[in-house]
């Protein structure tokens, strides 16, 4: 019921007196009419902007925040008003909803901000009025698509479950060639062979000069038949192997077989096998020649390699109705004009328009403004009809084309946007990570300050430098340090400490001290690399990739130049306790998800190995 109508309830009840004399039974007693206090004004202070309204206005909708007792939580006694720390611009629309009963959606507001405000005030968005509902739904859908795109890309890049079977890995490699080098190699190899196969098909038919005992030209395919046959065999072999591998790796084989790409694959390789089977049977050799035409379908395999092709295909699919309309209207027009043309030209002598179907060709050529000129009307009426035909042809074809074009443009831009967003997100997260690392450096700075300050008894210095929040935060991090008996350090200190440790433990590995140190450094780094890549079970198979690992705290954020993967906020960190030798162990502070240490290379010597032998413990990181 609309809000304003609630004010007419007294009228409706009064009008009920009209039923009284006719009533066949006594009336029920009215509900107790607790004498409401006089309708008062309520003051709503939203981030400084004051709104006022009658209490009754708000109570029209008792299942929202403002209409129920929930608003008492926001009552501010000193100023005797209700204070909300929310956006006043959007609040305007919410308050207008109480007043008029209609919720409007302002076009200039961000859809997620608006949704949040609605959720906060307990108003469901379905009651947005018809005037604004369409716009709201469109914006909402766009937003959802964007979020979905981001999630999908995230899922693709990061969320590799650690226990993927070989089959799943293979499928993932097929679908997304950027996941590993093997997949990339496979991708390029198949692409190369597709190109080779298509080129071979084309070159086969080029005339290649004459044989000594023949007069006419022979095609290259006949001259070098064996070479082309070998090439074809090789390509088909590769395609067959690829198809079988995909079939094996597909999560749902039936779905895979039904998919378009699979059909294209089959059509591309079937002619070869059919040709093998029926070798020299004269009757079917004609049909065999036709089959060779299907070899050209191999070119469609390129659509796995090109996103643009896929978009085009998808556009055509989504514009199926427009295309159908185009086809239908064209057919109608062709039949009409062909008929008219035929009867117009029937009288003229030696007319090429021998039948209506013969006139179809003329109509098509004219309507698409090709105008070959092999059939021309000779009579005046025929010429008039011909001109009308060509004019209308332009119109009929021009009508559905913009629809298809706009569809294509929309889909193309969507995919562009998705890619652009992904790239933007990388840089955005990188910047945020840099800011955060600044924050952690602040703590280290504070600690060093504290050390020097306590030495110089300049405690006040430190306190002055840091605002209140930072002081509390630093104290918190200090507590954490004390809890775990580790300390926060920075990158250089950690590397040098590792170097020291490795040098202390592996003197025989180094041929000479200098080179040993360098090689140790290298091996250290490489070991660290390996350790990183090994410890992260989600690691991509390409070495040196950084991936996200679970972290307790983003203490040390490293920003290495990253090729494929995203710089994530939770970059890895390694810390160690370099200084305090009393520590019984050196922990590279990495959370290790359960991983058998047996695959760890030359780490055995390090003191950390006994820890890692218990591989099933999730190690507490962050020192």
């Amino acid at each position: 019921m609309a809000a304003g109508v609630a004010a007419w309830l007294p009228f409706a009840r009064a009008a009920a007196i009209g039923w009284m004399p006719v009533a066949s039974a006594p009336m029920p007693t009215p509900p107790p009419d607790n004498r409401r206090k006089q309708d008062g004004l309520i003051l709503l202070n939203v981030s400084g902007q004051k709104f006022q309204t009658w209490r009754n206005t708000l109570e029209r909708y008792p299942d929202t925040l403002l209409g129920s007792t929930e608003r008492e939580f926001f009552f501010h006694e000193e100023t005797n008003e209700y204070f909300f720390d929310r956006d006043p611009d959007i609040f305007r629309y919410i308050l207008n909803f109480y007043r008029t009963g209609k919720l409007h959606y302002p076009r200039q507001e961000c859809i997620s901000a608006y949704d949040e405000e609605l959720a906060f005030f307990g108003i469901i968005p379905e009651i947005i009025g018809d005037c604004c509902y369409e716009e709201y739904k469109d914006r909402r859908r766009e937003n959802q698509e964007r979020i979905q795109d981001d999630e999908d890309s995230e899922n693709q890049n990061d969320m590799v479950p650690p226990d993927m079977t070989f089959r799943e890995t293979m499928w993932r490699a097929f679908e997304n060639p950027h996941t590993s080098t093997m997949a990339l190699v496979f991708y390029y190899v198949t692409g190369f062979f597709i190109a080779v196969s298509v080129m071979a098909n084309v070159v086969e038919t080029v005339p290649c000069g004459t044989l000594p005992n023949r007069v006419k030209q022979v095609s290259c395919g006949e001259r070098y038949a064996l070479a082309f046959f070998c090439l074809d065999t090789a390509c088909v072999m590769i395609f067959t192997v690829e198809y079988l591998l995909r079939l094996m790796a597909a999560p749902s084989r039936w779905n895979f077989i039904k998919s378009v790409m699979s059909v294209i694959d089959v059509v591309a390789i079937m002619p070869y096998y059919i040709g093998l089977v029926m070798t020299d049977n004269e009757d079917v050799s004609g049909a065999f020649v036709t089959l060779r035409v299907f070899r050209v379908f191999r070119i469609f395999k390129f659509s796995r390699h090109s996103a643009g092709l896929r978009i085009l295909g998808y556009t055509l699919k989504s514009c199926a109705s427009e295309l159908g309309f185009l086809l239908f209207s064209l057919t109608m027009a062709i039949i009409i004009f062909a008929t008219v043309m035929f009867y117009a030209e029937k009288g003229s002598s030696a007319s090429k328009f021998t039948s209506i179907p013969a006139a179809f060709w003329y109509t098509i050529v004219t309507m698409t403004t090709l105008g070959y000129g092999d059939m021309v009307p000779k009579t005046i009426v025929g010429k008039i009809v011909g001109s009308v035909c060509s004019l209308s042809g332009v119109l009929v074809i021009a009508l559905p084309v913009p629809v298809i074009v706009s569809n294509f443009s929309r889909i193309y831009h969507q995919s562009q946007r998705a890619d652009k967003r992904r790239a933007q997100k990388k840089t955005k997260l990188g910047r945020i990570a840099a800011r955060k690392s600044g924050g952690t450096n602040a703590y280290l700075q504070y600690k060093s300050n504290e050390v020097t300050a306590s030495k110089a008894a300049g405690q006040a210095l430190v306190c002055k430098a840091n605002p209140m929040f930072d002081t509390h935060h630093n104290h918190l991090l200090h507590c954490l340090e004390k809890t775990t008996n580790h300390e926060f350090v920075d990158e250089q200190t950690f590397e040098t400490s590792l170097l020291e440790v490795s040098m202390a433990k592996h003197p025989p590995h180094s041929p000479s001290l200098s080179s040993g140190s360098s090689s140790q450094g290298l091996s250290c780094c490489s070991r660290r690399n390996k350790r990183k890549s090994f410890n992260v079970p989600n690691s991509n198979m390409t070495g040196g990739h950084r991936n996200s690992i679970q972290e307790l705290s983003t203490i040390h954020i490293r920003e290495r130049p990253i090729t494929n993967s995203r710089s994530s906020l939770n970059a890895k960190f390694e810390e160690t306790v370099p200084l305090n030798c009393k520590q019984p162990y050196i922990t590279a502070a990495i959370i290790t998800l359960p991983m058998p240490p047996v695959t760890r290379p030359e780490d055995d010597g390090s003191a950390s190995s006994p820890d890692y032998s218990q591989a099933n413990i999730v190690r507490v990181s962050a020192l």
């Binding site: 309830l9 009064a14 309708d39 008929t339 009867y343 117009a344 009288g347």
Partner: protein, 242 residues
């Protein structure tokens, strides 16, 4: 040669006329179709715009608050509350029959309240102007909620007396009762039978028509109602509605 060309021209004419007929046919069909739809669209849009324009011109302001307070039995605050509600639904200051029906129908979503709303409208609109101003609204409410028993019963009599001739006959009463039953809707318990209104009307006339002349006059009506305790009690039901 002449003859040949003559026949030549003759055959041309035949096929020519054929094609011309086809072409003209097509053209006629397309042309009339497009013109037809054009015309319809235009007239429809014109009516709609005119309608809205007319409605927005009418605007009415009620008399002063003090005057209304003197004329009715409401206090100033009550008048304020009532006017705010009135103005919210009808910003132009008057209610026409359609809006009135719409508002009343919102209170009875189960059934069809339009007929009863129509009778109500006619009773509210004492001046028969086709629209209810705030003053009419307030006067009627004042009578219904704060008036004396006689005033209330007179108002109800005017409601039942559809043609305003001073008598309620069986047809009028049947219309009213049927309108009331329409508000109930289809899904009732026990299910509505077709002659339920008629039986109801007969019972009413049994009670009200004292001299058995087939019509009920105002005095008969007031007398009979005052005899019935239920009716008396129910008239006082909505005293404190505002």
């Amino acid at each position: 040669m002449h003859a040949h060309t003559h026949t030549h021209i003759h055959t041309l004419n035949q096929s020519q006329t054929q094609t011309l007929c086809v072409a003209v046919n097509m053209g006629l069909v397309m042309g009339t179709f497009s013109m037809q739809s054009n015309k319809q669209d235009r007239t429809y849009r014109k009516d709609k715009i005119d309608d809205d324009f007319e409605l927005s011109i009418v605007c009415h302001r009620p008399e002063g608050l003090d005057k209304l307070e003197a004329q009715t039995n409401f206090s100033k605050q009550e008048l304020q509350v009532l006017y705010r509600g009135f103005k919210n639904e009808c910003p132009s200051g008057v209610v026409n029959e359609d809006t009135f029906k719409q508002i009343y129908a919102q209170f009875f979503p189960h059934g069809d309240a339009s007929t009863y709303a129509h009778y109500l409208f006619n009773t509210f609109d004492s001046a028969h102007s086709g629209s209810i101003k705030f003053e009419d609204f307030i006067m009627a409410l004042s009578t219904l909620l704060r008036g004396s028993v006689r005033e209330k019963l007179t108002w109800t009599f005017n409601l039942y007396d559809i043609n305003r001739d001073g008598y309620i006959n069986k047809e009028e009463m049947t219309d009213i009762v049927r309108a009331i039953y329409d508000m109930m809707g289809k899904y009732t318990y026990p299910a509505l039978k077709t002659d339920t209104p008629k039986q109801h009307v007969d019972a009413f006339f049994q009670k009200m028509d004292k001299n058995r002349d087939g019509v009920v006059t105002l005095d008969e009506f007031i007398l009979s109602c005052q005899e019935d305790e239920n009716i008396m009690r129910s008239l006082q039901l909505f005293k404190n509605v505002i």
